[in-house]
Amino acid sequence: MIWKSKDLLSIEELSKNEIETILETAVSFKSVSERTVKKVPTLRGKTVVLFFQEPSTRTRTSFELASKRLSADNLTIQSSASSLTKGETLLDTMKTLESMKIDALVIRHSCSGIPHLLAQSMQASVINAGDGFHEHPTQALLDLLTVRENHPHLDQLTITFVGDILHSRVVRSNIYAFKKMGARIRVCGPPTLLPKDFEKWGVEVFYHLDAALQGTDVIYVLRLQLERQKKNLFPTLREYSQLYGITSDRLLKANSGAIVLHPGPMNRGIEISSGVADGSAARIDDQVSNGVAIRMAVLYLLLGENPERRTP
């Protein structure tokens, strides 16, 4: 299929067809990363700016590598939330970048909706690398790819997300992604971090982990933001890990052969035990390597030569 959209803002707005196109493209790019010369000239002369207002070593390096392997020039801007409040607005910063004729902007921001705001006012392609609690589309795509490598038939599996569902952009993107591929989806966490309204998304809501794990093929462990404790969302880390931590014992409640994913970075001993994280069920390293391939695919599809893409 021919890729038509300028931006990648969310999984919600992608069709199943588009998701499959990205996955297929990523598969073909995987081999590049396995060569001795890990580089193709596809995006030579293109400029990719990575704007990270929140720290994220993993996602940032993944995008950096992806654009380097496609021979694009890239520039990383790390900006703390505070430096943006000194009079210059985010839109001002972006207008400055736009005048320097960039081709793509990869943006990570703590406020939901920022990629949408920028995409409306910029000629460059905008790629959402995580916005607030909203979406993190490339994460969901790399998760899909990782799960599909283990379960070719996504429409026959049950995936269970465990942890802070309410504040997770990873879950939102993943729910859309796995739903479009026909998987059965469960979410599990403390009631303070999992509003019942999630049922309206066509997912099953669980507050008790053992029940949620029964019949599960994929356990997706979410990172717990440790400061949530201060906001009365759960009593102690100890209690959280007792009730919702994934341990080797807990793993036995799921289907045999169940795999475990985590978007990283992990709080070992809290949401996931080291035994599970380093064990045979974990696919966390695969997620990382698939991340580069997915981001290469996205950059290629959005920036590669394509006469049919509509110019804004």
């Binding site: 919600e12 985010l90 839109l91 406020c111 939901s112 705001l117 607030g132 309410l166 952009r169 999630f198």
Partner: protein
């Protein structure tokens, strides 16, 4: 002599139970007579056939922003927006800088309004000093200076003991307490009401009960103290129910709601358009239905705008950082007519009542009627012709309206304040007269 004759219009004056074709004779800024086929010799005649002629509207909830935030709005531009919306009296909220917590600011506003204003301006005084919710403001002095009610709007009074004392005190000053009902612990860092939309967009939610719980507290305090309590910008089904019960009990509780709460729900927040961000936020479809029912049943007494102008940079930014609030003066009646009267939620005369005499009664001002001897504040509306909302034509400095492009009916043709024409629609002509 300054004499006007408004001829042949459909006159609705709910305070005097008038709802019929009539002429209005105005002399020296005062209503002389309302009646059929008046024989007055004057060359200043406004032909109002097929038009609606009503008392100038009273908007009891407006942020004029002056002093302190003149980049958002001034008394001049805010009142100009008012008359462009058919509003001839506004009550202005005290969240200015400095706030309206002492007499000097009240005098300043009165002075500015008389020098530069296009309509009557009634300041509302603070409940607490500096709107801090700690110590009672000089309520007696504020009353002497002429405030028409008390409110810390924008900053809910969280301290129940303070609210109790203020209610006791204000009762003897004959002032109504208008509270922005919001439990700050519950609303926390939320930006829209909690529900499927906040989940979908990944925006921090505010539980609807953060309003209801404070409405409930205030009703209990009003019952205990005998004070008059008015709910500002009522936005949830739960609050409608509480006000309904309070009225049944015979308590002195009144309520207002704003056009966005009967026309929009959180379902309208499809992307991250900050023109849908206000406090209280947009409710669910069920909240909207309950508010329309509350308007129909008379549980809600007044329609007011909560006109909250902001500079464009305060809205063109991160949704979470964007200012709360929208402008409303210039769309108040068209949204009332097109979305309450046309769908027969309420009659035209009921709508006028909720926009004139009812708010005037809550504030205790002698406005909102066409009674003989009253100041001649009169608005003429065209309820037949559709026109699109165009924010670029707004007289307000604020362009932050979610209604831009909406096709509405009920546009003002003439707005008259004390017998002077202060607004004239570009397509409405008066023989031999140019504003």
């Amino acid at each position: 002599m300054n004499t006007w004759l408004i001829q042949g219009g459909h006159v609705i004056d709910p305070a005097n139970h008038w709802d019929d074709e009539a002429d209005i004779w105005i002399q020296e800024g005062v209503i002389k007579k309302v009646g059929k086929h008046l024989k007055i010799s004057t060359d200043k005649v406004i032909e109002a056939k097929n038009k609606l002629v009503v008392p100038g509207l009273v908007d009891m909830h407006v942020h004029l922003r002056e002093p302190g935030f003149e980049y958002k709005e001034t008394i001049k531009t805010g009142t100009q927006a008012a008359v462009a919306g058919g509003v001839t009296s506004v009550a202005c909220m005290p969240n200015t800088n400095p706030p309206i917590d002492d007499q000097a600011i009240v005098h300043f506003i009165h002075h500015k309004a008389s020098e530069e204003g296009f309509c009557h301006v009634y300041p509302i005084g603070c409940i607490s000093k500096q709107r801090q919710g700690q110590e009672m403001a000089e309520i007696g002095e504020l009353k002497k200076a002429g405030v028409v009610a008390l409110s810390d709007d924008g900053s809910p009074v969280m301290n129940s003991e303070l609210m109790r004392r203020v209610m006791e005190y204000a009762r003897e000053q004959d002032l109504t307490i208008i509270d922005h009902c919001e439990d700050l612990h519950l609303s926390n860092e939320g930006v829209i009401y909690e529900g499927s939309t906040s989940l979908r967009l990944g925006l921090r939610g505010i539980p609807a009960i953060s309003e209801t719980i404070m409405v409930s507290r205030n009703i209990l305090l009003a019952e205990m103290t005998g004070a008059r309590f008015h709910v500002a910008h009522l936005s949830t089904a739960g609050s409608v129910e509480l006000v309904r019960q309070a009225k049944r009990k015979g308590l002195a509780v009144t309520a207002e709601t704003a056009p966005h709460y009967w026309t929009l729900s959180d379902q309208f927040i499809k992307t991250y358009n900050t023109h849908f961000k206000m406090k209280p936020p947009l409710g669910s479809e069920a909240d909207v239905a309950a508010i329309r029912k509350g308007i129909q049943d008379g549980v809600i007494d007044c329609l007011a705008t909560d006109h909250a102008p902001h500079a464009s940079t305060e809205k063109q930014c991160e949704f979470e950082l964007a200012a709360f609030g929208i402008v409303g003066l210039e769309t108040l009646f068209p949204l009332t007519y097109t979305h309450l009267v046309e769908p027969q939620v309420i009659s035209l005369s009921k709508a006028i009542e909720m926009l004139t005499i009812n708010p005037a009664k809550v504030l205790g001002i002698s406005k909102g009627t066409l009674s003989e001897g009253a100041e001649a504040d009169v608005t003429i509306f065209d309820i037949k012709t559709s026109q699109k909302v165009d924010v670029s034509q707004f007289k307000s400095k604020g362009r932050n309206s979610p209604f831009n492009g909406w096709e509405l009916r009920g546009w003002p043709m003439i707005t008259m304040v004390q017998g002077h024409i202060r607004y004239q629609h570009p397509q409405f002509h008066i023989k031999g007269y140019q504003l």
